[in-house]
């Protein structure tokens, strides 16, 4: 029995509970609704909640913990000589056993009796786990129904109980956002601390060399790998700077044009067109950058006798700039449109032209919002992944030359984590430390931007 089936079973039981509660309430009230405290449906919801909530929690908990518990039991069952191996090998072994139990091919050539035995044990374990879960679920759900049914009486305040439960559920849902942030911070911090046990934090933050290739054998050259984040940060800043050089003027001028000059009809078509730019998946931009823009810059450079790498920071930056144009233009447009008309009229009354009004009245008035939009766009650019993964380089060059290939924080996170690695190596953990830096930088930028924007909004309200 798979989880979807069990969820279905729970749903059916809940539905049964609902109808049972309704009819039971009517029966206890002698068929007269006016004898009941709440509407009959609420008695149905009452039983339904008693059935669904414990069952749902059981299923979710089981789903989350089943693999861990079963793995632990499997390891405990295996003979000691099989489990006495490094972590990576053990996980490979467990994987093989699972595949074998599943009837798939394994990674090893010979399948010995021990492995077969373990696979059989695991298969049995899985079946009994599911049986146990199904039994527990039915007992819990039916128990809930029985208990709730016993409580149903005309004077039971069913609506109040149901509403209290609904409110509790809503409060729990609203904390998910906080839990997510907490989860991000804790997981990044926890893994980063493990990384900093292997690499000194100062070496990481101020190191000038990045070459995370840890050797397979201890005696190889460069066995430790170098984890200096400066080249990555420099590369990220370079590409983001190029992107902002494209997005800031274009986005700002587009916003000015749309909010001050464009007739309503033009604005009505251009604004959605620009929003499309923000809706295109970044992987598409990455493909566009790698396939069209990068070769274009390379050929163009050849024409002028410049060597432009085919993974140049320029190509990735320009395409990223195109992507974030709407982030700048949309918010700037909004804040400029929000500048009161009286300011414009005052300026026209003094004889200023439209552009003078914009430059000397509207832009200063809208400045906080404009700065906020630029900061938000910059934070987008720093955290952007797919464009740089597909169009920027992998080698960590410490350079300010936009024609060379540089790498970024996000590119390195992806390259470190894609593919099979043991989870304890400094290489994998470094990705989390980089993630922590990325999270902190974008968070600070966002907070500054949102504070600036919010402060500004209060001025004219």
């Amino acid at each position: 029995m798979s989880f979807p089936v069990l969820f279905g079973v729970l749903a059916v039981l809940t539905l049964f509970g609902f109808f049972l509660g309704r009819s039971r309430a009517m029966a206890t009230a002698g068929g007269q609704i006016r004898n009941l405290h709440s509407l009959p449906n609420y008695y149905g919801y009452y039983i339904g909640l008693w059935c669904a909530v414990p069952g749902f929690l059981l299923l979710i908990g089981w789903m989350a913990l089943e693999t861990t518990v079963l793995d632990g039991m499997l390891v405990a069952h295996l003979p000691k000589r099989m489990t006495d191996v490094p972590g990576a090998e053990l996980s490979l072994l467990l994987n093989d056993i699972k595949n074998l139990a599943h009837g798939d091919v394994t990674s090893r050539q010979v399948v010995d009796a021990d492995l077969k035995d373990a696979a059989a044990f695991y298969g049995q374990l899985k079946v009994s786990s599911k049986m146990l879960l199904a039994a527990l679920l039915v007992v819990l759900a039916c128990g809930g129904i029985l208990i709730a049914r016993g409580r149903i009486a005309p004077e039971l305040r069913a609506r109040n109980s149901v509403e209290r439960a609904a409110m509790a559920i809503m409060i729990i849902c609203s904390t998910i956002a906080v839990l997510t942030t907490l989860g991000i911070i804790l997981s990044l911090l926890f893994e980063s601390l493990r990384f900093f046990e292997k690499v000194h934090p100062l070496d990481f933050v101020f190191g000038l060399e990045w070459s995370p290739q840890t050797a397979l054998r201890k005696d190889q050259v460069g066995a430790t790998g170098l984890f200096g984040a400066i080249p990555l940060l420099a590369g990220t800043l370079l590409i983001s700077f190029i992107a902002m050089c494209v997005a800031a003027p274009v986005g700002l001028m587009a916003a000015i044009y749309m909010s001050e000059y464009a007739p309503a009809r033009v604005r009505g078509t251009v604004k959605p067109l620009l929003e499309i730019l923000a809706g295109i998946p970044t992987v598409v931009y990455g493909f566009f950058a790698a396939l069209t823009v990068a070769p274009f810059f390379r050929d163009w450079g050849l024409e002028f006798g410049l060597t432009i790498s085919s993974e140049s920071a320029l190509a990735a930056g320009v395409v990223m700039g195109i992507m974030i144009i709407p982030f700048v233009s949309s918010l700037s447009d909004d804040v400029m449109s929000a500048v009161p008309q009286s300011l414009r009229e005052g300026s026209y009354g003094l004889g200023a032209t439209k552009s003078e009004t914009i430059k000397q009245v509207i832009l200063p008035a809208a400045l906080p919002g404009v700065v906020g939009s630029l900061l938000l766009a910059a934070s987008r650019a720093i955290g952007e992944t797919m464009i740089v993964v597909m169009a920027a380089g992998l080698a960590a060059n410490l350079t300010a030359n936009p024609f060379e290939a540089v790498t970024t924080v996000t590119v390195q996170i992806v390259t470190l984590l894609v593919g099979d690695q043991e989870f304890d190596s400094a290489k994998t953990l470094a990705a989390f430390a980089l993630g922590l830096i990325l999270f902190c930088v974008t968070l600070v930028l966002n907070i500054i931007a949102l504070t600036i924007v919010n402060k500004y909004r209060e001025q004219y309200d």
């Binding site: 609506r159 991000i184 069209t292 709407p326 552009s355």
Partner: protein
């Protein structure tokens, strides 16, 4: 202007000064108007630049994608000798499935050109046919064992290089060493064309197959199904959570430190780079909770956490736009706070909430980076049948194909992008229509 002040003959001098001032203004007006026109021109240029880039992006992708929708096929005469496939004549499925169809296809290919004898030429000739031909013949026999012993014409795909040659992407005038197709193969191909054995047909494989190392056999079905299951999980998790959270925050939450924290949190979460959510998924769902790698369930959960803020923010503004008079009328009739919300406010806010949900889902559908972190980049041939099967999704498939060296994958990548963009446009258009259809002015 400066000479106006010391002049004793006020009236005359004043007139002169005014004329001078008017002159100065008139002179500067030209400059100012020119500046005005320039400024306006910059605005138009900026908009034009952005729109041109959008147009360039679309035309590049679409023009690159068009060839992917056709495939060069060859009509191959294959003799299905009984002794090759099923010598015992049992017609047992296992025997039929494991017979050596490769040699049958090889013979059929060599029969096309009896004059090709050398081993190297034979290999070059056989390379012109896709490896998929072998499976095509096998499937034919499995579907209809009566054909054994007959001579049948099978339409099988040509290899990706020949396909590219036929579409003109590999040019014949390039020196032989610089292209992937040999002169001999071109000559054979032209002879086959003259015989009428070559056909260019609609590439249905692209829509029905999973991933493959051979471009001519690769399709987006697996990725599309993976995307479907991932989106299903995302929707099932994020929609109820987000709506419940939005109702609480907008309608019931008291203003205190805790709810303010939640609000600041939601706003910040909406701006966290998506790759960080991938790291969260890797650390919590896969390493801590031991959930399977590459499964749509995990991808869906990660994307659900990512889209949650978007939907919450949209749902809150939709709830906010329902006028208080509705609530007051319901309260006046004796409804409880939850009845007011469930029976009156929520139905009225639903179109707005759904619009926000669709936009959030469109974002999630195009998201790649967090899914790379949780192992959805594996090369998976099988089409997934559930949310627990290993799978990949459309954007990740695009990423994988974009990395492939074969030229034919470029057009397939573009075609996959077109399909993805098609879905996104569909979702956004339906969001706009929903808003237009149900938008109420209170």
């Amino acid at each position: 202007m400066t000479d106006a002040a010391p002049n004793p003959n006020g009236a005359v001098g004043g007139g002169l000064a005014a004329r001078n001032a008017a002159e100065a203004v008139r002179r500067s007006l030209k400059r100012r108007y020119a500046a005005e026109r320039r400024f306006r021109m910059y605005g138009i240029l900026a908009v034009a630049f952005a729109v041109c880039m959008l147009g360039l992006l679309f035309t590049t992708i679409v023009s690159k994608a068009v060839p992917a929708f056709t495939q060069t096929m060859i009509n191959l005469e294959v003799t299905l000798h009984a002794q090759d496939i099923d010598p015992q004549g049992t017609r047992d499925r296992e025997t039929l499935a494991t017979a050596n169809y490769r040699s049958i296809v090889r013979r059929a290919v060599f029969d096309l050109f009896p004059d090709v004898t050398s081993r190297r030429d034979k290999r070059a000739l056989f390379d012109m046919i896709s490896p998929g031909a072998v499976f095509a013949v096998r499937d034919l026999v499995l579907a209809n064992p009566m054909l054994i012993g007959e001579r049948v014409t099978v339409r099988v795909p040509m290899s990706d290089d020949i396909d590219q040659l036929n579409k003109g992407a590999i040019r014949k005038d390039v020196p032989e060493a610089e292209r992937r197709v040999k002169d001999k193969q071109i000559a054979w191909f032209e002879r086959l064309e003259n015989r009428g054995a070559i056909e260019t047909v609609f590439n249905s494989t692209f829509f029905t197959a999973g991933d493959s190392r051979e471009p001519e056999l690769a399709g987006i079905r697996g990725a599309a199904m993976g995307s479907f299951f991932t989106m299903l999980v995302t929707l099932l998790v994020s929609f109820p959570l987000a709506v419940a959270a939005a109702i609480y925050l907008e309608e019931f939450a008291p203003v205190n430190k805790w709810t303010q924290t939640i609000e600041v949190n939601i706003n910040n979460l909406a701006a966290v780079p998506s790759i960080v959510f991938g790291l969260l998924g890797l650390a919590v769902f896969i390493n801590f909770l031991g959930m399977p790698r590459s499964a749509p369930v995990v991808g869906g959960l990660v994307l659900a956490l990512m889209t949650l803020p978007t939907i919450i923010i949209a749902a809150r503004s939709a709830l906010k736009s329902v006028p208080p008079s509705i609530r007051e009328a319901a309260y006046g009739l004796g409804a409880s706070p939850l009845q007011v919300i469930a029976h009156h406010v929520l139905p009225l806010a639903m179109p707005g909430i759904l619009t926000g949900t669709i936009i959030g889902m469109a974002q999630a559908l195009g998201e790649t980076a967090p899914l790379l972190m949780i192992g959805m980049v594996a090369f998976i041939v099988d089409v997934p049948h559930g949310a627990l099967d290993p799978a990949t999704v459309l954007p990740v498939q695009i990423y994988l194909w974009a990395d492939s060296p074969e030229r034919a994958f470029v057009e397939r990548t573009s075609a996959a992008i077109c399909v993805l963009l098609g879905f996104l446009i569909l979702m956004n258009v339906s969001a706009v229509l929903l808003r237009k259809r149900f938008e109420r002015k209170w």
